[in-house]
Symmetry: C2
Subunit: 240 residues, 2 copies
């Protein structure tokens, strides 16, 4: 039995090792933002590998936004920016099941109402309008209102949304090419308060998501979570 070292330095490929080395220099402050890092051929010499390998390592760092590469000018350390965060917006059904609770989608009355103005859909297309509540162990977790474009997803008309939530069904059956998420805070109206068992005027987190397949609209969904029991969390970098 070898040493049970928990460290992940088992047998890292060169380009990952080089990447880690550079990353450590940047994050450790040895190479401050704006400074030039050694040229590829210099690093290749230092690490005793070919320039291609160094280039692959630096390309990964450039993709990650840690450095900026410019021909002739060299590679410089990027100024850290709180540009964007990777936010986990999982499928509600999967999230509830993953937490060990029983999941159920309670479907409410639906209609074939016109698509919502917020989604700027053409008013002429045929849509399936769904309303329902996601339940975790029988407790309301989120209220969902969804419009599905029947021109793009005709088989949605025959789907059984009692077994799996509309979101999961769509993920399983319809590939999407673009999506947009919008997060805001709203005050629960009477209907929402009733569905989620909330007091009047409770603050709620509202997630609206639109998805496309190419130029075609697939679905527009508005999910409303109780503000005091749900939050979205995004994390960056190594664990603290």
């Amino acid at each position: 039995m070898t040493a049970p070292v928990a460290a992940p330095l088992r047998k890292m490929p060169s380009y990952q090792l080089i990447r880690s080395e550079i990353e450590a220099n940047i994050l450790g402050g040895i190479w401050p933002p704006g400074s030039r890092i050694p040229a590829e051929h210099q690093l290749a010499g230092k690490f005793g590998c070919s320039r291609m390998t160094v280039s692959k390592a630096i390309s990964a760092l450039a993709d990650a936004g840690l450095v900026l590469r410019r021909k002739r000018a060299g590679t410089i350390v990027a100024r850290p920016r709180m540009h964007s965060a990777v936010l986990d917006i999982p499928d509600i059904q999967a999230e509830i099941i993953a937490s060990g609770k029983a999941y159920r989608f309670m479907r409410l009355r639906e209609s074939t109402a016109a698509p919502p103005t917020a989604a700027d859909w053409p008013t002429t297309i045929a849509v399936l309008h769904l309303r329902g509540v996601h339940l975790a162990n029988g407790v309301p977790f989120a209220f969902e209102q969804r419009w599905i474009n029947l021109a793009t997803v005709p088989m949605a008309a025959d789907a059984d949304f009692a077994a799996s939530s509309p979101g999961s069904w769509l993920l399983d059956h319809v590939p999407w090419t673009a999506a947009e998420n919008r997060i805001s805070a709203i005050t629960a109206d009477a209907a929402i308060g009733r569905h989620l068992a909330l007091p009047a005027n409770a603050a709620c987190l509202c997630v609206e998501r639109r998805t496309w397949r190419g130029a075609d609209h697939i679905t527009f969904v508005r999910q409303i979570f109780p503000g005091d029991t749900y939050d979205l969390t995004a994390r960056f970098g190594p664990p603290a």
Copy 2:
């Protein structure tokens, strides 16, 4: 003058062209999820390039999550997932200025109160406690409450937060290695309502952010936005 084609097929490198070709087959449904795509050497033959070039293209697709690569089994089209969304959480000062409005940070009374329990900071460290309101054209835009770890950032004690917001100042002076964002909805209390000129019990979007440099805490900030006028938007894929 050549044809004013808007299409971006000007002079794409081979690996990007190959990537686009594969991507089109996947997104167009010709290669459905779970199906195998041709082996690298086959694609190399088809495109008349080396296997390295094909591999680079497929690696990019694998990084993007469109395909899964497995030795011997080949490369298969991944099942699309709403894994995570890239959310734009820009610096408030930069955001307001970018929108063409006048920015001002109105600093409120501060204290050296103990760090907030929510940030699970040690209670013994010296902190700088800041409170203020971000103003866009004089109108309250967000209420901010911030704690800065003076052990990690001693020069924050002497900084002038009238010129630039605390967030911008920190971004410019302190590199960070990890960050965590938490988004929730809250009901405005009396103080928040007063600062943001909101009616009582208005729903607000609450963004809490913690940043670290290595193992050291840098700052904990809680920003509160009027729920009806602010939202966070994240977009994926090509523009609609």
